[in-house]
Subunit: 166 residues, 2 copies
């Protein structure tokens, strides 16, 4: 199963693509950060959609995971973050991907084992879990952690399904 | 010039399409309200994009105007509104439309003459300006008012351009 994880933001949107096999083994495929800062706001929203659409077209993920955002510093930053997340969601949904949302707590627990990890801990654990040669950039690391979280939840769903269908 | 105005919202997104000729005469083309309430949140975001894309494909507007949102009741509603607005923006930008943003104050001034008009006043004035047989629904009226605002600003730009190029 190829999974794309997204860490949305109005300045930087991280993405991370991994593969999870039947045994639960994770394999790194790609990661990066769409840096749209320095563009007027409306162009940023368009760029997030277009660049993400291109990434989906290049790597063909089958499922998507995105961080569920509950709060922001203030209403203004919430509005900006919301629009960036909306543009990212349209790219995922229009590609026909099933999208799951995970809280920051779920994502940190999946990557680091605890809910209160610092950014650097997430970067180091993602590097170790995916056998990367160096720490990924912070937003890309969060996106990869989101994809890892989805892979773990997928395994939990698989383990439960046979019991349910008995 | 055919203009689409958008009043974005995570439950109801109003749209209004008008034509403005060289003499500044306004003509109503269409209006309506995308009601996506009752769907799960992610499906709402996808539906706003898809339905708006379809409306653009049907009416072929040449320019777009959207309300600029500065504040919301709280960060949660700002995040929801932001994602709806992001999905609407992607539909407009992907159609290649130039998008202008107007504040609620500018829109009310254009439609009613004052910045502190009640919803009903906007509905009545839009009905009168566009010679409609009945008051449009509130979100559609705001969207039409936004398009009217853009038509007025376009005329102001036209009047200024010859003086500037002399």
């Amino acid at each position: 199963m190829r999974i794309i994880g997204i860490d949305p933001g109005s300045l930087r949107t991280g993405y991370g693509i991994i593969e999870s096999d039947a045994a639960g083994e994770l394999r790194h495929v790609a990661h990066g950060c769409l840096n749209v800062s320095g563009q007027p706001f409306l162009e940023r929203i368009g760029a997030i959609y277009r660049e993400l659409k291109q990434i989906i077209g290049t790597y063909h993920p089958e499922e998507a995971a995105i961080e569920q955002v509950f709060m922001a510093r203030n209403a203004d930053s919430a509005l900006k973050l919301g629009q960036a997340r909306g543009a990212a969601l349209v790219a995922l949904l229009e590609a026909g991907l099933p999208v799951e949302e995970y809280t920051a707590l779920q994502i940190k627990k999946a990557a680091v084992g605890g809910g209160h990890a610092a950014k650097e801990q997430v970067q180091s654990m993602v590097r170790w879990l995916l056998k990367l040669s160096e720490n990924p950039q912070a937003d890309a690391a969060d996106a990869l952690a989101c994809a890892i979280c989805h892979a773990h939840h997928g395994r939990t769903r698989q383990r439960w399904q046979p019991a349910v269908s008995r």
